[in-house]
Amino acid sequence: MAAAEKTLVVRDLKTHFFTKAGVVKAVDDVSFEVGRGEIMGLVGESGSGKTVTGFSILDLVDPPGRVVEGRILFNGVDLVGLDEEAMRRLRGNRIAMIFQDPMMTLNPVLRVDTQMIEAVLAHDDVDKRTARERARDALGRVGIPSPDERLRSYPHQFSGGMRQRVAIAIALLNKPDLIIADEPTTALDVTIQGQILYEAQKLCRETGTAMIWITHDLAVVAGLAETICVMYAGRIVEKGRIDDVLDRPAHPYTRGLIGSVPSHNRRGDPLYQIPGMTPSLLALPPGCAFRERCPRADQACRAEPEVSTPRPGREIRCFHPHLETAA
């Protein structure tokens, strides 16, 4: 598929933070694309740069951080360097974000209807009644019972799961082309998480909305996404179709990550441990950032690995990928 048909194409994105202690390369040369109705999982551990990637797309990175390089093509338009007013018209309208904590989205002292109607009117020239109807429909769509009544509630009158659904309903209000969901179910109980995942799947299938699902939980992404990007220390180390990556992980980090997830066919066996811990982004080893923890590292890894493409749609950033298991 040509790049122009994709909802979002990110190319060579670099977001760096210029701190007193040095330059933190939170996102370093990241490229990916998401097509219409597609869900992409962006997976990584704390500090891997997955959230900053999401923030960069929406131009929400605060100083001392900024996007220093790269292109973010949204429906063919480059968002990097777009003026603030044009960006404002996109945010919450064509691109929406869902945060881990719904209270990042919701104003605690305003009723839900006030907030939702405002979000509609900010982008659309409709009367208040239409805006209200749209708000009610959005609440209904995310499975909130008696949406007419709940519109008049304040955020604190909702439970955690309900609140997250309200945040999702607000994201849906203007039928965006792209939703960036940053760990939206991490704080929720399993049954509530199941409901949210169900709504997300339905939404993408029915409206063609593209979605980036940022999470540390491989198992959630396994059940939800079509494609997956695994991030480590600011870089995408492995990318591909979900089955391909999870069944035939090639990067030693991806393999380690999958091995450390408890799974029912290995009950009681020791889990695989990735040796060492995530290095500080300020003191990354030169070359491959993973090499000090990597069982396959050798002299070659002191240089920076380039992206290789063993088969179409699959990208790996490693000198010694596990390819012998590939089909």
Partner: protein
Amino acid sequence: MSLAEPPMIETREVSKRFVKSLDLAARIARRLGADVREEVVHAVDQVSIRVERGEVVGLVGESGCGKSTIGRMIAGILRPSAGSILFKGEELSEMSPKTAKDAALAVQMIFQDPFASLNPRMRVADIVGEAPLVHGLVARAELSDYLDQVMRRVGLDPAFKRRYPHQFSGGQRQRVGIARALAVQPEFLVCDEAVAALDVSIQAQVLNLFMDLRRDLDLTYLFISHDLSVVEHISDRVVIMYLGRVVESAATPELFARPNHPYTHALLGEVPRLDLRRRSYAPVKGEIPSPLEPPPGCHFHPRCPHAMARCREEMPALREIAPGRWSACHLNDG
């Protein structure tokens, strides 16, 4: 395990009620005839759990189901409102002060957030070393060696003794919490969401540590978690709770292979798994009801696909439906 040996920990119909007492304004309003009542939360409602020596029992449930409250009662942090807790066959509330102290030391707790459970102004040496010194488990002269030994045991470099909790990463801090618990040579550990806040790769390290400690120190665990994959991995037996009550308990492979209670069914159905791709989630309807006003009868009936008239009125008893398998559901009555 001989049959004669009493379980390491047993709770007998333990309940815990939290009462939000009326403030002055509400008391005056009541005097004037307003219908205000004290709010009572039945956090734990007649729960009986047995943990045999050497066993790892997983206690699973969603927010507000009372799993942490049980853990805290067993660890002696909270007192039960009703029922009794037995340590090696002896009731905690009827022990002599000396035995009660020994029991309190033998049962230690590990918390979810090591930041909140470790004093930020104390050095690791004091956090870990204080209790064994106070309780006379180790002489002051030998304390330093003892600390080195405990820290190595949990995989921490003894050189870090002089550090403060904030100087550690999340995984290391959790190890400090484990070292603190191990320092008094416990027999039983209550782990309350002990790996929930950790990254996957760090979680794997801590879970492996728990399994090593169990093998090397002959420990018994009550492993409280909302994460079914973690519980399935580490436990011998699983107890499922919903809104203060036990709904099902069984040996781990049994429970995951053949869940009996509709809630267990629903819960297992929602667990994301690596090997299930692009599945269609079929959500459990409804929300977890408020424990302030739990539904009558079976607490799960408003969300249960099989609910009958009886479920709305009569609370199902936890019955043994097969050897070692317990479930509280009217459907089992055929």
